[in-house]
């Protein structure tokens, strides 16, 4: 790794405690993996269904360690120029124009001028490497990016350095804590996975989910939260197109509080089901299986 630095956390238990201070209730496995990613200096690849708190985990780590969060949002067709760095060619063209008007020409002069830091646009990956303050680098929805982009990530993630042909190699002063998230819409390459520690984040256990709901929507009260979590778990056990995740549980809790409902009976579930289930066929199935009508 080349860079020696003091670890962010002292123990796995400490990770869990500190994350819960900023409202992220991690299970012991998550806390352990975060702790190890920091200790071993390896990027953390978090995979799991949408809405279980993958991105939130990175934000929470940044918050408790006082780090700046640098985020690279991946999408179809993202390339080097968007992820790593880009030369600002508009500015370079202007500079050429100005130099020509001033009578300063010649290749040696220009090369020194237009390939300098001033004309370099740092994109998230380079930015995260160059920062001297503590940094959490979040590469979000890695599975949306093309396979070539993963190749790009490899140098950054294993050596924490970026090579710019015109300027040389920029190595990290301070190693960022890297979190990659993926919804598993495609399998990431072996090469990338090998460089990461892996965490599969799934729907939480009943107790933890109730605690999360209470943390986010304290007005809901113990008993209703319990009912809500039990019902959501019953929904997840069905064959649905899209099972509700924690995000949906929290939305549901907010809805119930807003509507002033204090118990989750068949009537209440039927009227608010649209908050949790987003497909008409899923809602129809839940209505029959939970005997709502």
């Amino acid at each position: 790794m080349g860079v020696v630095q003091t670890p962010l956390f002292g123990s796995a238990a400490e990770v869990g405690e500190r994350l819960s201070e900023v409202g992220y209730l991690a299970d012991p496995a998550t806390a352990t993996t975060v702790f190890l990613a920091d200790r071993l200096g390896k990027p953390l690849l978090v995979e799991g269904p949408a809405g279980v708190g993958k991105t939130e985990l990175a934000k929470a780590v940044a918050a408790v360690t006082g780090s700046g969060l640098v985020r690279l949002q991946c999408y179809e067709g993202i390339d080097e120029a968007r992820a790593l760095y880009e030369w600002d060619y508009r500015k370079q063209l202007l500079r050429l124009q100005v130099d020509r008007d001033a009578g300063e020409t010649g290749w040696d002069v220009e090369r020194g001028h237009i390939f300098s830091e001033e004309f370099l646009l740092a994109r998230p990956l380079l930015e995260a490497i160059r920062r001297t303050e503590p940094t959490v680098l979040l590469v979000d929805e890695t599975d949306k990016a093309d396979v070539e982009v993963e190749g790009l990530l490899l140098e950054v993630l294993s050596d924490f350095q970026v090579t710019i042909p015109e300027l040389g190699t920029v190595a990290a002063q301070r190693r960022p804590f890297v979190v990659l998230t993926s919804n598993a819409t495609r399998e990431l390459t072996e090469a990338l996975k090998r460089r990461c520690l892996y965490l599969h984040l799934d729907y939480p256990e009943a107790d933890r989910e109730r605690a999360i709901v209470l943390e986010r929507v304290p007005e809901i009260g113990e008993q209703l939260a319990e009912q809500l979590v039990r019902t959501v778990r019953a929904l997840r056990a069905m064959e649905l197109k899209k099972a509700p995740s924690i995000a949906e549980s929290i939305d549901w809790a907010r809805t119930l509080v807003t509507l002033g409902l204090d118990t989750l009976d068949a009537e209440a579930v039927r009227t608010t089901l649209g908050v949790v289930l987003k497909h008409a066929s899923d809602a129809a199935r839940a209505t029959t299986e939970l005997k709502l009508s």
Binding site: S11, A12, P28, A29, T32, T33, F35, L36, A37, R39, L40, K42, L45, E47, E76, G77, Y89, R90, L93, D143, D146, V147, A184, T185, R186, E187, E190, K193, R194, C196, L197, Y198, L199, H200, E205, A206, D207, Q227, R230, T231, R233, A234, A237, E239, K241, K242, D265, A266, V269, H279, A280, S281, D282, A284, R285, E289, L290, K291, L292
Partner: protein
């Protein structure tokens, strides 16, 4: 055995079970051992998993092997020894029969309160008390079924439901939710008991042997023809994520050859930023050719699980084709496309299929010849030059007319035609299987599990 020896044996077993734990994974695992609290077993499990397991399908294998290589304890659980000591205080003599009623009471409480750690402890105790069948040399002496039969947790459900519902009326939402909760807990109990039995067996016998015999096949390697009901349900739940994965893989392949014709308007607009020099050109997306898919599938008895899964998958991939038509048959054939329309609940469609479609004319045994004849006669326009034809079935004709000429006619009319056979290749041609005869007129593909099917559908989809 030292810590590193154990790790080496463990990773070796993982590899043997098909989990690709390479050198760098093992090095990471070694560093993990140095960084965590080794006495904290859940932490050890999570840490090793983070380093060694990079795909969720491998996690059950990892957990099973982890329990064998890092067992919770050795011999009888401590609680049991204590209990026996207490008893022998006032009764003196050898340990008597386990008090089954007391155990069932305890279980009832645990299932109601839902404390997982306590349930695990209980499972260990119950295995020690109930799971042992008098030692016979060379035979296994610990059994899951003995424990579960004695405890029979299912018979507790009724009284537990009463307790959970606390006077609320039966038959509604509350009961469904409570039932789900109890089933979840009983499944957890079963898993704990199985793990404990494996541990005890491994203690008496060879650990590697236990590992080998207990390992379940990876989820996408389960044979369609051998799958249990729960396994089929679990498969069906993966249909939508699988379809999404296939679709995005396809989109990536399409993008590789993305350069369509030059989009002049967008190129000129973009060139304004660079003083009229077209530094970047823009292209129109290429038009994608979408074929028509016709699925013709045997939904009789044994192959139904396979046919249902494949029907659901093709329906979920509907957007990738210009049209999907589905025909199901047993001894006669009917169109079932309407059941798999947009927005349909696919699991439900599969259930309605047998009820609503006209599939049986005689005895309910597959009749390929008649089914093909009905398809050709009743739906003459089904297969045309734009069609990709997919036949699903085990090619077991019950010694009836295979209808080879009819099939050949369909294949000749179609653009592509494939037959997916869920039977292992080595059984083709045995008994009433006409696999090789059909193979002469249509390309027959072995398709025993989800992995093979995914592979095939990935190749079938149009680029």
């Amino acid at each position: 055995m030292s810590l590193l020896d154990t790790l080496e044996g463990f990773t070796g077993a993982l590899r043997e079970a098909g989990v690709p734990a390479g050198t760098s994974e093992v090095l990471d695992a070694t560093r993990v051992l140095g960084a965590i609290d080794l006495l904290d077993r859940p932490q050890l499990r999570a840490g090793l998993a983070a380093a060694l397991v990079k795909r969720p399908v491998h996690r059950p294998t990892f957990d099973l092997l982890f329990d064998l290589w890092w067992p919770t304890a050795v011999g009888d659980p401590l609680e049991l020894t204590q209990r026996r000591d207490d008893e022998s205080g006032d009764e003196a003599g050898e340990p008597g029969e386990p008090d089954l009623d007391a155990l069932r009471d305890e279980l009832r409480q645990l299932l109601l309160t839902g404390d997982d750690e306590a349930l695990r402890r209980f499972a260990r105790l119950a295995v020690a008390e109930l799971g042992h069948a008098g030692a016979q040399p060379g035979r296994q002496s610990w059994f899951t079924y003995r424990v579960l039969r004695a405890l029979s947790p299912e018979t507790l459900i009724a009284s537990m439901l009463d307790a959970l519902l606390a006077g609320e009326p039966r038959g509604g939402l509350a009961e469904q939710v409570a039932r789900q909760r109890l089933q979840e807990r009983i499944a957890a109990l079963r898993a704990h008991v199985e793990a404990e039995v494996r541990r005890r067996v491994a203690e008496e016998r060879d650990r590697d042997q236990v590992a080998r015999s207990a390992l379940p096949p990876l989820a996408d390697q389960v044979d369609f023809l051998r799958a249990q009901r729960e396994e089929l349900a679990a498969m069906r739940r993966t249909v939508h994520p699988l379809a999404r994965r296939l679709a995005s893989r396809l989109a990536a392949r399409r993008r590789l050859g993305r350069e369509g014709r030059l989009d002049v308007r967008r190129t000129v607009r973009a060139s304004l930023g660079t003083g009229g020099v077209p530094v970047e050109t823009h292209h129109r997306p290429r038009r994608v050719h979408k074929p028509e898919l016709v699925v013709f599938c045997d939904v009789s008895g044994s192959v139904a699980g396979f046919a249902h899964f494949t029907l659901m998958l093709t329906a979920a991939l509907r957007e990738q084709f210009s049209r999907v038509r589905a025909f199901a048959f047993i001894d006669t054939c009917d169109e079932v496309t309407r059941l798999f329309g947009p927005g349909a609940d696919l699991a439900d469609s599969v259930r309605r299929l047998a009820r609503e479609a006209d599939l049986v004319a005689y005895d309910g045994h597959s009749d390929y010849g008649n089914a093909l004849r009905v398809l050709v006669e009743r739906f003459p326009d089904a297969v045309g030059p734009k069609t990709s034809l997919l036949v699903l079935g085990d090619a077991r004709t019950n010694y009836r007319d295979p209808g080879l000429a009819l099939l050949k006619g369909l294949v000749d009319r179609s653009r592509h035609a494939y037959w997916l056979n869920p039977e292992p290749r080595r059984e083709w041609g045995s008994g009433d299987s006409m696999a090789y005869r059909y193979g002469e007129v249509i390309e027959m593909v072995e398709c025993r599990n989800v992995a093979q099917l995914t592979d095939f559908v990935g190749r079938l989809l149009p680029v």
